[in-house]
Assembly symmetry: D2
Homo-oligomer: 107 residues x 4
């Protein structure tokens, strides 16, 4: 199995007259529903994703196109990639690892 990375994508449509952007984000997420090899989790500030790096980049590009197809003229996208190759890493494991340190300290 190809090594997976954990990433975070935020897609920000600019120059929309409306301040609300949720409908664009919802449309971008449809791409993820059709790519079942990518795990994802929606947060208040972006979408955390897990999958092979090349697939993450492909899907990010597809999601970046979505607001243009809805009439937006400018899109600002940020992608953060955390790629660790000394051991497998998952979305869940990264959070659990921090919580375990918190718990150990509280005891």
């Amino acid at each position: 199995m190809e090594k997976e990375v954990v990433a975070e994508l935020a897609i920000i449509p600019l120059g929309t007259a409306d301040t609300g952007l949720s409908r664009y984000i919802a449309a971008c997420l449809e791409i993820l529903r059709n790519n079942e090899d990518i795990q994802y989790q929606l947060t208040a500030m972006g979408t955390v994703m897990q999958g092979p790096l090349s697939r993450i980049l492909e899907v990010a590009q597809q999601m970046h196109e979505v607001p243009f197809s809805m009439g937006v003229s400018r899109v600002f996208t940020t992608l953060k990639i955390d790629d660790r190759r000394d051991r497998p890493e998952t979305i869940e494991r990264k959070v659990e690892a921090v919580l375990e340190f918190e718990k150990a300290k509280g005891e």
Copy 2:
């Protein structure tokens, strides 16, 4: 009540011999447990926070100091702030707004 913003903070210690950073993140989160006016949620790629902007900046600076106090010599911190003043915004509300659009489309 002062207007609240939603933000995301990621603190990355550099030049640590170990690739694992969870113990630093766990120590940074202790700051948040002692600042009860800030709501927060740990994700795999950072910490989503909600609170007045001036308080978010104060707490971000305190959290940024933590790895130095643990012996780290270089810290790379990223802070993203989403500040919307036409209506109240919360961590939960931002996610729900997207899910509502997804649901409406699925119907």
Copy 3:
């Protein structure tokens, strides 16, 4: 002298009907002209700054307010901080250090 950090600030007004954002950025930069203890350099993707961390945060908050004062209802701001405490670091020095490695390799 207080230790200085190198940082990068990007301020993105949302929900503007116009796709062009230059006039907002120009107005934000006026804040920097009035804070002479902060060195800065405008790039195509943000503003690189150098100064004491607490001053960078103060100025970032002031700059973040500018688009609101111009009628914008939502502002998305990203701040990246590179804080190295084992030696002094400047905007120029960071770039030169990379160029020296490039040059050494080319010889």
Copy 4:
């Protein structure tokens, strides 16, 4: 000619015993010297690039691989993409547009 975007890439090797990262950045930049369709500019906080979006993503992936080939086990990469389709945009033009507003105001 394919529409070009302006982007910013920052590649951060983690878990290196040394705090200095310049030699990794210098090695990443060699990729850009071999891809002459991508314009770039090194800044203190990343590399600003200009080119077709698909090429930017290809090159970003290649640059992300470089620190691994030098023995690093974990790499944190951030990519910001500013994609404006209502008019051509370049690295130089983006900076000039802001400076023109500053100048107009000063007069």
